[in-house]
Every structure is written in C-alpha cells, then in structure tokens.
C-alpha cells in the first residue's frame, strides 16, 4: 500500500518531519567530525555556545539569519510559482550594487532613514533585474530556469568583479570595494532590541534590516495566501495545466514571480552591505543565496518556517565560525556539508521518512 496520498496533520508535516531531517543531517555531520578525529559532542557544544552563548554571538547569529530570511523568501516565492530559483546568490550580489549606489549617492546628504527606502528599492530593483532575463527565457523560450539562473550567478559575479575592479574601486586601494559609506548610508544596529532582552550586542552587525526582513515575511505571506497574484502563482506552481485552463498568463506570472524573488534576494544586500560592512565588497554574498535554498526547503516555503530555518542556519554559521576557531581541525566548510545534508534530507529525501511516520501515526490519528 502506498502512503503518499495519506495526509498527515500539520504538526507532523511541518514540525516533526523537518526536525527529523535536521537530526539526520546533524548525525551524518557528526560522523564526519568523528571521522576526522574530533569529538562530535564537543563540537556541537562549541557550535551552540558559539552561536547562542553571548549577546554578541546571538547578534551574529541573527545577523546571518537576516540574510537567510531574505534569500529563503526569495527561493520560496519562486518555488510557489513552480520555479526553482538557484540564482538568489547572483541576484543578491547584483542587488548589492543597487543598495551601494543609493548609499553612495545619498549618504552625504540625508540621514539613514531617508536613505533606507531608496536603498530597499535600489537593492530590490537590481536583484529583480538580474532575475528578469532567466525569467524571460523560461517564460518565453522554455529555457530551464535552474540552469539559466546558475549561469547568471557566474555572469553576475563577472559583472560585479568588473565593476568593483575597474569602476567602483577607490583609486589606490588594494581591495576591490567601494568607499565606506557615511552613517547616512548605513543601517543602524539593533542594540536597543537586544537590550530589551538584557543582552549586549557588542560588535555584532545585527541591524535594522532584520526588521525589514520580518516585514518582508509578512508581505510574502500576504502575497502568497491573500492576493490574487499569489493565488495565480500557486495555481501555476501546483498545476501548470490548470493555470492554462484558468487563463492565468504564464509569461506574466513567471516573470512577476521571478522579479519578486530576485527583488527579495537583492534585499539581502541591505543587511550585508549597508548593515555590516558599510561598503560593497567582492563576493559579499558568500553563499547566502544558496543557503536560501536549504532554508526554504526546511521552512516548507512558509514565512514562519523560513524565519525558523534561517535562525537555525544563522546558528550554524555563527556557531560554525566559533567551532572552527576552537577546533582548528574542523574548518568552517563543515557548515557547507551540513547545509548540503539538510537539503538532501529535507528536500530530496522528504519521502524517506514519510511512510514510516504515516504508519506510526495512523493507528492514533484516525478514529
């Protein structure tokens, strides 16, 4: 008997299964740690302490989480429309250009809260622009968006490097990066928010873009489940043939979904560029776009799930940095391994645990 069509209650589908997936991923990561001769439990301890042990650690964790919320939302929005956007990385990168240009233009003249809305627009517009061509190619020419977005990650990297090396670099400076933004181009830190919980933020770059991310979560929820456009996207995502029947314009919906997706990815740069480093740097995205895939898969493409998964990955990122510091034998690339395993278990092997859970649950669930 197959179990695929048996439905499980939400708390199992959205709670127990992701948790088990995570545990499996951690278990295999533990094996790797053990294999290279370190104590996995010790490692886990360092990881958790490093991520949550102090105020600044939590600040870093939330800082990373902010980036992952943006990219996770980006992947999720596309996903709802049936599109697998692997290009959040590149869209975030190019989005950074938008944010930086706004910051560079305005930081001298106005305070940050005036710059911010323009920066949001700039980041989103540039990110969206970078998603547009793959979207158009998918919609009009049927080119597989997975491959085109990967290609655009590479193309975006080349473009950004060119601009940073030849155009935006401060003459005479070594590193290909823009000048440092003045406070008018920086997003202030959220010391006060941490203080509410009696924590000291310290040097952690946890900043206002976290709040923007939360607003975006709400807006994405609204979009997907409370607007006609969201309805169309979901129809298209679940059943393209039903979308045709319903007269939902494929080209328009695909392109809009990808523009929103790219815009959200682009806004990740608010956090990294304007919130943390106060300048546009080469490769500042540092894989956050790819983490977004894992976050979206784990969070089941729902904003609440995405926030939780993003924080989890924030813990991994921050804790992982500390872990590699405490146990030099374990490099931070361990996080990439965990990330891959999470994607594997949460995304590709999601049906592995289901039948067993259905069997476990069924005797109790039904009356």
């Amino acid at each position: 008997m197959t179990t695929a069509s048996v439905s499980l209650p939400g708390w199992i589908s959205y709670g127990v299964i992701p948790l088990l997936n995570l545990l499996l991923a951690l278990f295999f990561s533990g094996l790797v740690v053990w294999w290279i001769g370190e104590d996995p439990f010790e490692a886990l301890k360092f990881l958790v302490q490093g991520a949550l042990g102090r105020g600044d650690a939590i600040g870093f964790t939330l800082f990373y989480a902010t980036s992952f919320i943006f990219t996770g939302l980006s992947v999720a929005v596309a996903f709802h429309a049936g599109l697998f956007n692997i290009g959040s990385e590149g869209q975030a990168y190019v989005g950074g250009l938008g944010a930086a240009l706004v910051a560079l233009a305005l930081d001298r003249y106005v305070p940050w809260y005036v710059t911010m809305p323009f920066a949001i627009l700039g980041a989103a517009a540039f990110g969206a622009a970078w998603a547009f061509i793959p979207a158009w190619l998918q919609a009009k020419r049927g080119s597989h968006i997975v491959i085109t977005t990967i290609m655009f990650n590479f193309i975006g990297a080349a473009l950004m490097v060119y601009l940073l090396v030849h155009v935006l670099i401060v003459p005479g400076k070594m590193a290909p990066e823009t000048r440092t933004f003045l406070p008018g181009g920086q997003l202030p830190k959220l010391d006060w928010l941490m203080a509410l919980f009696g924590l000291k933020l310290g040097p952690a770059p946890f900043n206002v873009s976290f709040l923007i991310a939360l607003v975006m979560c709400f807006l994405v929820w609204l979009l997907i489940w409370r607007t006609k456009l969201g309805y169309e996207m979901r129809t298209l995502g679940i059943s393209p043939s039903a979308a045709v029947y319903a007269g939902i314009p494929y080209v328009r919906t695909v392109i809009i979904a990808m523009l929103i997706s790219g815009g959200l990815a682009g806004m990740m740069s608010l956090n990294a560029v304007m919130g943390a480093s106060a300048r546009l740097q080469v490769e500042f995205v540092a894989g956050a776009g790819f983490v977004g895939i894992a976050v979206s898969l784990m969070g089941r493409s729902h904003p609440v799930g995405i926030v939780l998964a993003a924080i989890l990955f924030g813990v991994l990122y921050q804790g992982g940095a500390d872990l590699s510091f405490e146990m030099p034998n374990i490099t931070r690339d361990m996080i990439v391994v965990i990330q891959g395993l999470v994607i594997l278990f949460a995304g590709a092997l999601e049906y592995m645990l289901r039948p067993a859970l259905v069997r476990l649950y069924q005797p109790f669930g039904r009356t």
Partner: protein, 323 residues
C-alpha cells in the same frame, strides 16, 4: 607570432580544457538518457578530484588515484540514486545537495588531513598522468601545417585525454548498439515501457548512474592529477554546469557532445589568450567578458536560438507506478 601558431596554441589549450568537460558531459549523458537529471555532476567531479589527489599523493601511482576517483564518484552517484530513484526525491534538489556536500566535505577532509588550506599536498611527478609524446612528434614538428598540429595538439597529451576521446565512440556504441543502451534510452523516454517489458527501471537507472559516476571519476581525476598536481578547493569551478550546458547543446547525443565540449574548451582557451590583449577597434576587452562568455553562450543556447533541444521525455520525473 604567426596566426597559425597562435591557432595551434589555442587549439592545444582548448583540448586540455575540454577534457574534463567531455568526461563530465558523457557522464551526464548516461544519467539523463536514463531519465535522471544530474545537476550534481559538479560535485561528483569535485569528490573524485579529491580522492584521486589523495591516493595519488599517498601512493605516487596515478592509476590508483584514478581508481579512487572513480570509486568515490560512483558512491556519490549511488547516493543520488538512493535519493532520486529509491526515495523518488526531486532529482535537481538532490543534485544540488550533493554539490554542497562535495564542496564542503572535500575541504573539511583536506584541511583535517593535510592542513594546507583545504588543498592536498602536491602530487609527486610519478603520481601524475604525464604528457605522452607520440612517436615522430619531434620529427614532424617542422612539416608545415600538420607538423605543429601533430606535435602540439595531437601529441603531448596525457593518457586520459586519449581515453576521453575514445569514450565518445564507446558511449555511442553502448547507447545505440547494446541491450543496456536500448533499455537505458527507453527508461529515459517511457519507463513504463521498460517496466512492463519485465525490466526493473530502478536497477537500470542505478546502473546508468554507476556509469555516470565512472565517467565523472575520470573528469575529477583529470583535473587533479593530470591537469594539475593537487586537489584545490572548489577546483571544478562550475565545469559541471558547463558540461551540462554542453550536453543540452548537443541534444543528448555523444558525438555532438564532443564538439560542444571542444567549443566550450576553445572559448575558455581563447579567453585566456585574449587576456590583456587589445582587439582592433574595440581596444582591450575586460577579461570578465571572456570569463562570462561560456555562461552567456549557454543561455543563448538554452534559449533555443540555435535550435530547440528536446530532453528525454521522462527526465527529471521520478518513476512511480502508484500515485
């Protein structure tokens, strides 16, 4: 420098650069023809490069390195199979996942074992696949036109290069002239037909993935101990994706795959060559343009401006009988 010499030089470079693409694209050919999209080629290449470099470094024997590269790559293929065949997971997602695991695991292990910033130590000369000078290469060198071609392009490559080109007709033969090939192609078009013919689709697809692992193992090995002399983190640097693009460009056929890979290799070589040089009228072209060119070209190809590619019909869809 004579234009012809430049051409020969670029051609030689193109061949060297296209070999990993060729192995990888042929690897993808087998899995995709069997109905499994393989975006994880990149990761397979990477792990096999790592394994090959480790073993070649420890044993100073390139063949053992190759064996290790192939073995590890097959293991990765089997994991992909476990996720996407046995558990009917999304093939793209599992491929992406394996790419991450590969990128992370190789560096973690390399750093833990060798402490060289995620690289393996340099493989000694005898642990590598050295260039082979074909008979008469030096004598031929001065013969106009064919001389330089023979001496610099055809001769002077390592054994894996020749194996790669041999793999092209071999793949063709396996796909179109053997029972395994017939069934494999059928599985990619209509797995139901295979199943009702009394053949296990699962086992067939697993075997296709093993072939994929086998060929991707060559690609990684080539990168690590033929083209260079160590594993370097992320040394595949997107070649798996380019190979995939070549596969699409070639419409999933072995001989066109070879030409597509040569084209991409040529672009890469040309980019290297053009670096820092000026073009007439245009002036110095930023190297980034050349770096991005294969990716741009891939998009143009995918857009079907150069003919539409029809992928294997059942590709990307897990085979399920019972909904």
């Amino acid at each position: 420098m004579e234009y012809f010499d430049i051409f020969v030089s670029i051609l030689g470079s193109a061949i060297r650069l296209s070999i990993p693409l060729l192995f990888t694209a042929l690897a993808g050919l087998f899995s995709e023809r069997a109905g499994i999209f393989d975006i994880g080629l990149e990761g397979k290449m990477l792990v096999s490069a790592f394994a090959a470099a480790c073993v070649a470094y420890l044993t100073a024997n390139p063949w053992l390195g190759l064996l290790a590269g192939i073995g590890v790559s097959i293991v990765f293929s089997l994991v992909h199979g476990f996720a996407s065949i046995t558990n009917r997971g999304n093939q793209i997602v599992s491929g992406v996942a394996l790419n991450f695991v590969a990128a992370g695991l190789t560096v973690v292990l390399a750093q833990a074992w060798f402490g060289q910033g995620g690289r393996t130590p340099q493989v000694p000369g005898e642990g590598r696949f050295a260039p082979i000078i074909l008979p008469g290469a030096d004598a031929m060198r001065d013969v106009p036109v064919i001389g330089p071609l023979y001496a610099n392009v055809i001769s002077g490559n390592n054994i894996l290069t020749y194996i790669a080109f041999l793999m092209v007709p071999l793949s063709w033969w396996v796909l179109y002239r053997t029972r395994f090939g017939l069934r494999l192609r059928a599985a990619g078009e209509n797995p139901g037909a295979v199943d009702t013919a009394g053949i296990s689709v699962t086992w067939l697809r697993y075997r296709a993935l093993i072939v994929t692992g086998f060929l991707a193992g060559f690609a990684g090995t080539y990168l690590a101990i033929a083209q260079s002399a160590a594993f370097i983190n992320n040394m595949s640097a997107g070649k798996g994706y380019i190979a995939l693009a070549a596969l699409i460009f070639a419409k999933w056929k072995p001989v066109p795959v070879m030409f597509a890979c040569l084209l991409f290799g040529f672009l890469d070589a040309f980019a290297n060559f053009m670096q820092g040089k000026s073009l007439p009228w245009i002036g110095e072209v930023p190297v980034q343009i050349f770096q991005a060119l294969p990716y741009i070209l891939t998009c143009v190809l995918l857009a079907g401006f150069i003919g539409v590619a029809r992928p294997p019909k059942a590709g990307g869809v897990p085979y399920t009988k019972e909904r």
